[in-house]
Symmetry: C2
DNA sequence: CCTCACAATCTGGTCAAACCAGAATTACCG
DNA sequence: CGGTAATTCTGGTTTGACCAGATTGTGAGG
């Protein structure tokens, strides 16, 4: 059994089987037979799932799937194994980005140092190049936003945002297929950078607000109507 | 070997051993002997570590420790295995809490539903009980704050905050050893709840600001001076 | 002495068979 | 029908083995 697909497969199976059995999943031995692998392999997968708090293993009792599969680890995990976020979660994710980045822009304006400016310039320069070559911003957009978070000098904050953005990456790629959107996005990045250079916190956050508003309205066009107050 | 301490122990050993050997960790068999456990146990731990991107296992070659151990998974992991955050990161974590919760209070004021109110009331009632019995708020504080996030109806946001708060839990317990702080914290929770009931977003967020300011000043007393602009 | 090819060794990946002790279930007796 | 004793089941852990590529060691030839 190629380990590649094993974890996703067994996860899906566990969740499905548990749903139909009061949260209790099949035994390790059953799983091993079901997937035609040794019990050791199953246990390795289960160890990961347990560490991610997706399941709970109770000695001499059984395996139980946590109902509220929560935690960023689980999210990162789902992203890694390819389970797409629900449409609703995309809006929620954008809202979280707004919460994070508007504040990040504000803080960065007062805390950014020379290295931060250099990094931002570098990202913008590479963005310029890509656009000149008719290519999409792609990951460079993410890089730009993360550099702003980095400029807050808050490493915990940066860690959170880094992990979080990795999740939405798949979806964002769609956004950057349009040349106009790419150019407009780049221009807004430039403006935000200028605001940071001037250490104008309120302007930076205001620009970020409208920048992200664009993303939100884009998703509104593509997807189903957004949730109530987002 | 009690599994309780195994993961932390083996992790520390891996990181240390790898640092002195060009990133390469001891073999599974060596680790098994070193910790007096079976190779299967070692492999389970390694599977978790690999899923968390702390290490990389190359077939027929060896185990390599990733140098830039980053990402929220790693953070959550370190918290779980008991490695304390640096003092500086505590300030950063509090700042992140501020970013999250001030906005959460604002959003919750307009989005909270009856179930949210009921949950918040429940937490407050239990807090009341504990205080009456002379015990500290302990986890109830965390519960209260998470319920506010839940009231934003943003599940992605809730996921992030849930994982994140698990990190600071160890440290927060210190805070709630003081009876005065407990009572004052509880009163502020009550006030925030009232603001949410009145759907007064600006009041709710303002109260949250001062509530968290208390925590920040507490840490300032206990720990080294805070970083520049936090 | 150096180089290159071959052989022994080491490594992670995987499997199989057992034993343990407590949980869960079944069977049986009153 | 109720309750207890016997049995099955479950996760936890260990041992030992085999595979195939990566690594290392060795020795012959230049």
């Amino acid at each position: 059994m190629q380990q590649e697909d094993f974890l996703p497969a067994i996860t899906a199976h566990l969740i499905e089987a548990a749903r139909a059995n009061d949260g209790k999943a099949p035994s390790e031995r059953d799983l091993a037979e079901k997937f035609q692998v040794s019990r050791g392999l199953v246990r390795e997968a289960l160890a990961i799932l347990e560490a991610m708090q997706v399941i709970e293993r109770r000695a001499k009792s059984g395996i139980y799937v946590n109902d509220g599969i929560g935690g960023i680890e689980a999210m990162a995990f789902f992203a890694r194994i390819g389970l797409p976020l629900e449409n609703r979660q995309i809006f929620e994710a954008v809202e979280v980005r707004k919460i994070h980045e508007i504040k990040a822009a504000e803080l960065a304006a007062s805390r950014a140092n020379d290295e931060n400016y250099a990094r931002l310039r570098d990202v913008l320069a590479r963005s310029e190049d890509r656009l000149r070559q008719g290519e999409g911003l792609d990951k460079l957009d993410q890089e730009f936003h993360l550099e702003i978070v980095r400029a807050t000098q808050n490493t915990v904050f940066l860690n959170i945002c880094t992990s979080f953005y990795a999740l939405s990456h798949n979806r964002l790629q769609v956004y950057f297929r349009s040349p106009e959107r790419n150019r407009r996005s780049h221009e807004e990045h430039q403006q935000i950078f200028d605001a940071l250079l001037r250490r104008d916190a309120s302007l930076a956050s205001a620009l970020m607000v409208s920048h992200l508003r664009g993303a939100m309205s884009y998703w509104s066009e593509i997807l189903e109507p957004p949730p109530a107050g987002a």
